[in-house]
């Protein structure tokens, strides 16, 4: 792809937890309308990078630029207002709010203006949520909470969608639906997606480009097809039980 203005560019970012360096000089970008995936073993720093985009924790060095604007030091809620939405790892939904209220939280940027329309789209994707609309988030099963976290992120009408392991704990059929939905949203609305997945095979199939992260460093990057064909990547992340 030619080099248009990247929607998100992360330049040389280092993030620390106390004295432990979790990211050491990470440079990653996502062009508008692209699906980019980040793969790597557990503990490589993928989720840390996702959280760093939102300033929790803050990048100690380096720059994060979204749509030409430096957001490195912006407060987290202001970052969310720029229409960057995240479905965090571990389903951090609001457990005491109902499904409906959780989705309303996602749609609060627009004062619920598009709530009916967007919630219908979410229910189309996850019919289970519709059945549970008045149930509290905390009483949903694990997989349903995951659906709710993704749905809530979609409700924000994001320009950039960060998905941290969307397939975690979901039935194979639902994973297919989600990947299909991401692809469709990307195709029809030009949504830019930044995807972290353990299911490297599925993620690379979906994405245009990918980065491979090892111990807080981006080790490799390239088009998905190249990474899929790369013997090193295959050995480390793809083989030994194809998902």
């Amino acid at each position: 792809m030619a080099e248009p203005q990247a929607l998100l560019s992360i330049e040389n970012v280092e993030t620390y937890y106390g004295n432990i360096r979790a990211l050491s000089g990470v440079t990653v970008h996502a062009n508008p309308g692209e699906i980019v995936t980040l793969i790597g073993a557990n503990g490589a720093g993928k989720s840390t990078l996702m959280m760093t985009i939102f300033g929790m924790p803050r990048a100690r060095t380096g720059r994060i630029v979204f749509d030409g604007k430096d957001i490195t030091k912006l407060p987290t809620h202001e970052i969310a207002r720029l229409r960057i939405a995240q479905s965090p790892e571990g389903r951090r939904i609001f457990p005491r709010m109902t499904v409906q209220e959780n989705l309303q939280m996602g749609a609060s940027l627009d004062n619920l203006q598009f709530f009916d329309e967007d919630s219908r789209m979410v229910f189309d994707l996850f019919p289970r949520l519709k059945e549970r609309i008045n149930q509290r988030g905390g009483t949903l099963s694990g997989g349903e909470q995951q659906m709710l976290a993704i749905g809530r992120a979609l409700m924000a009408r994001p320009r950039l969608l960060l998905l941290d392991e969307p397939s975690l704990g979901l039935a194979p059929l639902i994973i297919k639906h989600i990947f299909e939905a991401i692809k469709e949203l990307n195709k029809h609305t030009g949504l830019t997606v930044f995807l972290v997945e353990q299911n490297a095979f599925g993620a690379l199939k979906l994405a245009d480009r990918g980065y491979v992260m090892v111990n807080g460093i981006v080790k490799m990057s390239g088009s998905s097809a190249d990474l899929l064909a790369n013997p090193e990547v295959r050995a480390a992340y793809l083989e030994g039980g194809r998902h």
Binding site: L140, M147, G169, K176, K183, E184, A200, G241
Partner: protein, 450 residues
Amino acid sequence: MDSEVQKNTSAILRVERLSMKFGGLIAINDLNFEAKRGAITALIGPNGAGKTTVFNCITGFYKPTEGMLTLTRQNGEEYLLERMADFVITKKAKVARTFQNIRLFSGLTVLENLLVAQHNPLMLSSGFTVLGLLGFPTYKKAAADAIEKARFWLEKINLVDRADDAAGDLPYGAQRRLEIARAMCTEPELLCLDEPAAGLNARESAELNKLLLDIRAETGTSILLIEHDMSVVMEISDHVVVLEYGTKISDGTPDMVKNDPKVIAAYLGVEDEEVVELIEQAEAAGVDDITAAVDLLSTEALQEIVETHPDAGPVELIPATSAAKARRAKTPAVKKTSATTVSTATEAAAKAGAIKAGATANALTEPRGGKADRLILIKGIGPVNERKLNEHGIFHFDQIAAWKKADVIAAEAYLDFDGRIAREDWIGQAKKLAKESQAKPAPKKTGGAK
């Protein structure tokens, strides 16, 4: 079925007529199954089917509304788990579990987590602290044994060098393994694992498979497993039970379950190997839109199953597979077969249900020439809606293009939309697409047209 279940003495756990209701919500409805001693039994099913609730009943976190849970220990002692408190279940019935959302003591070190698991024997040997304070040798020995056992499991899960780190600082995969080790330190006879492979990559889940097989081989522990990762379930389990909406829909060996049309429709979609095969063929044919092809395949296969096998029976995925293949992968070689398979598929569909109620005026019983247009080309129509439209006799762009106001209302009723058809201008899009497809006519039945 009940009597058959009761006769079998090799079962470590018998679940009979188990029901769990939360207010008006029925989470488990009259469930019967059993886990054999020394076997790995997997519990699978769609999200929200009630799998974790079954675990919570077995481990005493919930008191079941109805039903009996009988655990038979190696020494022949029988326990009715539904009557016992959770800590007694661990202590006496020797059932241990892990959690879907990891619940380690994150502030304690890795080693301490494993020692807490051995609280019961340690407490006993320290004379409930008194003898321990006085420095009695029995306690010293017990403490040394506890550490030794912890070390044994740390070696097994490859975490010896992190024994003194806080458990919360470990990466996700390591925390999962530590949870298993902690459960094993209670010396269980039945180990219940709630999604142990969630969040693990392909290689890590292969390691997990090995760990679980080792545990069974070395300690004889029976394992009950909830898991969505089919590379784990199908590889290591001896027996698979499938739940949907709190009811059992299938029960048998991995191979049986994998090919059960009900399971495929409710849970699996199309088998993984078949998807992989399709992807490879699509790649060979130079199709760029692979994921869409896969998804199309799964939706189509489902529809096929639902329509041609309303009540189980052997399933034939092949026609749908090749149909999807042919539609996407435009290779002349496949096309020849495709024409016939597509028409058989649609014939089957037509026979099975014809047009659903509430269809629009210009609905057809089957696509003209046996070949439907790809309605998903219209912006706003996804595979799900395409299926709904097909079910209601809409197969072609020109049909949508010819819709009148009443038709739009009817279509929106069954699609569960309001205003979207007009907003996204489906009719305008359809007119354009209909014109295009007339300009360069789509290949027809004859096939082999190069």
